[in-house]
C-alpha cells in the first residue's frame, strides 16, 4: 500500500490527468459532505443518486470493455441492461407470468445467461461487420429487444411492467432485517436543522453496498483481463485488426469474447436496477440510456476503466442536476442581480431589472446539456478526461510517427504491471 506508506511519492507518480481527477473528486466529496451535514441534501436521496451512479458506472465499464478495449461500437447497451433487469424480475417479481417469488440469486443467473445468449446470437452475424455497420445493427437489436419485451406479455407482463421485486438480500442471513435493526441517528450540525438517518437511509446504504460490490467485482475482473495477454490482443485488434490476424490471432473469436464480457457487465447493472427500483417496465429500455452510457465512456476516456467509472457518476450528476434547478427559489432565476448580492450594498437600485423567467423543464435541459457535452468533448478533448495511463499499446502504435511514450508520469520500473 504505497498510498499509505508514502503518500508524497504516490502523488508524485500520478500523471497530470490523474491528479486533476483526484482533486476534482476530493472537492466533490467535500462539497457533498458539507451539503449533507448542513441538511441541504438529503443523505438518503444522495445514496439513491450514488446507486444510480454506480449503475451507470457498471454499464460504462461494460461498454468500455467493448469499445475501449476492442473498438466495437455497441449501441444496444440499454437492451442488455434491460435483459439483466428483466431476467432478475421474471424470476423474483410477485406478478411474474413465468416464475415469480424466487431467490434473487436465480434472477441474477437468469439475467446473465439471457444477456450472454443474446450477445452471442447478435455477435455471430454482426461482429464480422465494419465498425459503423455494427453500430446500426446493434441499434436495431436494441429496438427488437425492447419491442419483444413490450409485446410478449405472456412472459414479461408487457407494458404494465413487473412489480413486487424483493430486495437483493431477501432470503439471506442477517442482511434483510439489518436496516430495521439499526438505530435511528440524528445529526445536528447547524442548530435547528436535524439530519435524520433512519430506516430508508440504511436500506439505501445496503443498496449502495451491493452496487459497490458489483462494481468492485467487475472492475477487478476487467482490470485483470485488460492487463493479461488476452487484453493485449484486444488492444491490438483496436489498433489494427489486420496486424492481429497476421500474428495468428482469431480476431473474430476475440471480439466475440470481449463483446460477451461487456454485455455481462451491462446485465449486472440491470440486475442491480431491478432490485434497486423494485419495479421494471419496458420504458427502462429507452435507447437514450445507451447514449448516456456512451457519454460516460467518452468523457472518462475510452479504454480506461477508472475513466468509465468516473464518467458514469458524472453522467448521473448531469442527468439529475436539472431537477435541482427547478427547486431553486424563483427569485434566483428571475431577478438579476440576485437578492443576496443586493443586500451587500454594492448594487444600487438603478441596475436592478427583471430577467425573463427561465422556465425550462428539466427533461429537454438534460438532453441539451448531454448533447453539448458530447460535442464539446469531441471538439476539445476527444481522448476523455482520464484516458488510459501508462498504456503500452496505443491505438496508433503501428504508425511510423509513433511517440515512444506519453509525456509525463510514466513509471519506468513498473512496465507492464501498472498499466490501466
Amino acid at each position: 500500500m504505497s498510498t499509505l506508506t508514502d503518500p508524497r511519492g504516490y502523488w508524485g507518480d500520478l500523471t497530470s490527468e490523474e491528479r486533476g481527477v483526484a482533486g476534482f473528486l476530493a472537492a466533490a466529496v467535500l462539497v457533498l459532505l458539507a451539503l449533507m451535514l448542513t441538511g441541504v441534501l438529503n443523505p438518503t436521496y444522495f445514496l439513491f443518486l450514488f446507486g444510480l451512479g454506480g449503475m451507470f458506472g457498471l454499464m460504462s465499464l461494460g461498454l468500455n470493455a467493448q469499445w475501449g478495449y476492442t473498438g466495437l461500437i455497441n449501441f444496444s447497451v440499454a437492451a442488455f441492461f434491460g435483459l439483466g433487469a428483466y431476467g432478475a424480475a421474471i424470476m423474483t417479481a410477485s406478478n411474474s407470468p413465468i416464475a415469480g417469488d424466487m431467490n434473487p440469486i436465480f434472477g441474477l443467473v437468469l439475467g446473465l445467461i439471457l444477456s450472454a445468449i443474446v450477445a452471442i446470437a447478435i455477435g455471430i452475424p454482426t461482429l464480422r461487420l465494419r465498425a459503423d455497420y455494427l453500430a446500426i445493427a446493434s441499434l436495431g437489436l436494441a429496438e427488437v429487444v425492447r419491442l419483444i419485451i413490450l409485446n410478449e406479455g405472456q412472459w414479461t407482463a408487457g407494458s404494465q411492467g413487473l412489480r413486487g421485486i424483493p430486495r437483493f438480500f431477501e432470503g439471506w442471513p442477517v442482511l434483510p432485517t439489518l436496516p430495521e435493526a439499526l438505530p435511528q441517528v440524528n445529526i445536528e450540525m447547524i442548530p435547528g436543522r436535524v439530519v435524520t438517518l433512519g430506516l430508508p437511509f440504511w436500506r439505501q446504504l445496503l443498496n449502495v453496498t451491493l452496487v459497490l460490490t458489483f462494481m468492485a467485482g467487475a472492475y477487478l475482473v476487467l482490470r485483470r483481463a485488460h492487463r493479461s495477454p488476452w487484453g493485449r490482443v484486444l488492444r491490438t485488434i483496436r489498433a489494427d485488426e489486420d496486424l492481429a490476424k497476421a500474428l495468428g490471432k482469431n480476431t473474430y473469436f476475440f471480439k466475440m469474447q470481449s463483446f460477451v464480457l461487456g454485455c455481462l457487465v451491462m446485465a449486472l447493472a440491470g440486475v442491480f436496477f431491478a432490485h434497486f427500483q423494485l419495479f421494471v417496465n419496458p420504458g427502462n429500455l429507452d435507447p437514450t440510456t445507451t447514449f448516456y452510457v456512451w457519454v460516460a465512456v467518452i468523457l472518462g476516456g475510452a479504454g480506461s476503466n477508472r475513466g468509465a467509472l468516473f464518467g458514469g457518476f458524472v453522467v448521473v450528476a448531469i442527468r439529475e442536476g436539472p431537477q435541482f434547478i427547478e427547486q431553486l427559489p424563483p427569485a434566483f432565476l428571475t431577478e438579476f442581480p440576485p437578492g443576496f448580492l443586493r443586500d451587500l450594498g454594492f448594487i444600487t437600485d438603478d441596475v436592478l431589472f427583471e430577467l425573463p423567467s427561465i422556465a425550462i423543464s428539466p427533461g429537454p435541459l438534460q438532453l441539451l446539456l448531454v448533447g453539448l457535452l458530447i460535442i464539446l468533448i469531441m471538439r476539445f478533448r476527444p481522448q476523455g478526461v482520464l484516458p488510459p495511463q501508462r498504456e503500452l499499446i496505443w491505438p496508433d502504435a503501428v504508425d511510423e510517427d509513433v511517440r515512444k511514450r506519453p509525456d509525463s508520469g510514466v513509471r519506468d520500473q513498473r512496465g507492464g504491471d501498472g498499466d490501466e
Binding site: W67, G68, G71, I73, R128, L129, R130, A131, D132, Y133, A135, I136, L139, G140, E143, R238, A239, D240, E241, D242, L243, F291, W294, I298, G301, A302, G303, I360, G363, P364, L365, L367, L368, V370, G371, L372, L373, I374, I375, M378, R379, P382, Q383, P387, P388, E391, W394, P395, D396, R403, P406
Partner: protein, 295 residues
C-alpha cells in the same frame, strides 16, 4: 379475396410511408458518401424541417387556392422550411463537424450530440406535446376506395412531391456538372481534388441537398402523423435501412462486402480513440468511407 384486399391496402400505405422515408434516407446516403460518416442527427434534422415548416406555415397562413387538398402556401412553407433546415445543417457543419479532428467514428458520436441538441431545442421551444399543421384532415379519395385503396389527397401530394424531388436529384446527379463532381468526390476525394474539383464546395452542397430533402421529408412526416420532438429520432433506424442495401449502381458489391477485402480497400487504419489524437492528412478522414450509393 380478403388477402388480396389487405395486400393492396398495405401496399398503398407502404408507398405513402416509404415516400417519406426515401426523402430521409437519400440525404443520409449523400452525407455518408461525401462527408464520410453515419450521421445520427439526420432523423432530428427531419424534425427541424417539420417544425420550421410549422412556424412558416403559421406565419404565411392558409390560402384559398389549394392543390390536392393542400393550400399552395403549405408548399411554399415546405420549401422555405427545407431551406431553413439546410441553413441549420450548414451552420452545424461549419461550427461542429468542420473543426473536429477525429475519425469517422468520432464524427458519428458527435452527431449523436448534435441530434440531442436539435431535439432539446425543439422541445424547449415547442414543448413535448404533439402538434398538427393547421390543415383540415381529409377523407380517403372515394373512387380509389372502390379498389380498397384508402389514400387521401394529401398522401397523393406527398408521393408526387417525393417523386418530383427524387427524380430531380437523379437528374442533378447524372446530368449536371455539380452531380458529376459530387459523384467524383464520393468515389475518390483525393483524385477529385487533384482534378481541380473544389471538394469543400461539393461537401457544402451535399449538406444543403441532404438536409433540404430531410426537411421536406420531415414536413411530410408531420402532415402524415403529427409533430412531436421525437418524430425524427424515432424514424432514424428506418431511414438507415434502405441506405444499407440501396446501391443501385455498384458494380461489384461482393468485393467490398467481404470484410477482408474491405479492409485492404479502405486502408487499415482504425479510428483513434486513445490519448493521442490522430492528425490525418486533409481528406484522410474520408478513408473510412465505403464506396457508396453515389458511385
Amino acid at each position: 379475396m380478403a388477402v388480396t384486399e389487405q395486400f393492396i391496402r398495405l401496399a398503398a400505405d407502404g408507398v405513402v410511408y416509404s415516400s417519406i422515408i426515401v426523402l430521409g434516407s437519400i440525404g443520409l446516403s449523400l452525407i455518408y458518401s461525401i462527408a464520410g460518416f453515419a450521421n445520427f442527427a439526420h432523423g432530428d434534422t427531419m424534425t427541424v424541417g417539420a417544425y420550421a415548416t410549422l412556424v412558416i406555415f403559421g406565419v404565411v397562413g392558409g390560402t384559398s387556392m389549394s392543390v390536392l387538398g393542400l393550400p399552395v402556401s403549405f408548399f411554399l412553407a415546405l420549401l422555405l422550411g427545407a431551406a431553413v433546415t439546410a441553413v441549420v445543417a450548414l451552420l452545424t457543419e461549419r461550427l461542429v463537424y468542420k473543426p473536429l479532428d477525429v475519425g469517422p467514428i468520432g464524427l458519428l458520436i458527435t452527431s449523436i450530440g448534435v441530434a440531442f441538441v436539435y431535439r432539446a431545442l425543439v422541445q424547449i421551444r415547442f414543448s413535448a406535446d404533439s402538434r398538427r399543421y393547421d390543415i383540415q384532415a381529409l377523407r380517403p379519395i372515394d373512387w380509389l376506395l372502390e379498389y380498397n385503396i384508402a389514400v387521401t389527397e394529401h398522401e397523393v401530394a406527398m408521393v408526387a412531391s417525393a417523386i418530383v424531388l427524387v427524380v430531380g436529384l437523379h437528374l442533378l446527379l447524372q446530368h449536371t456538372d455539380l452531380g458529376r463532381k459530387m459523384r467524383a468526390t464520393a468515389d475518390n476525394p483525393s483524385l477529385a481534388r487533384a482534378s481541380g474539383i473544389r471538394v469543400r464546395r461539393i461537401e457544402l452542397w451535399t449538406w444543403i441537398i441532404g438536409a433540404g430533402l430531410a426537411g421536406a421529408g420531415g414536413a411530410f412526416l408531420g402532415l402524415f402523423n403529427q409533430l412531436i420532438p421525437r418524430m425524427g429520432f424515432n424514424l432514424l433506424l428506418v431511414i438507415f435501412v434502405p441506405h444499407r442495401d440501396g446501391r443501385p449502381t455498384d458494380a461489384d458489391p461482393d468485393v467490398d462486402r467481404h470484410p477482408d477485402r474491405q479492409r485492404v480497400r479502405e486502408g487499415t487504419r482504425v479510428p483513434h480513440h486513445g490519448r493521442r489524437v490522430a492528425r490525418p492528412a486533409p481528406g484522410d478522414r474520408r478513408r473510412g468511407r465505403r464506396r457508396g450509393w453515389l458511385t
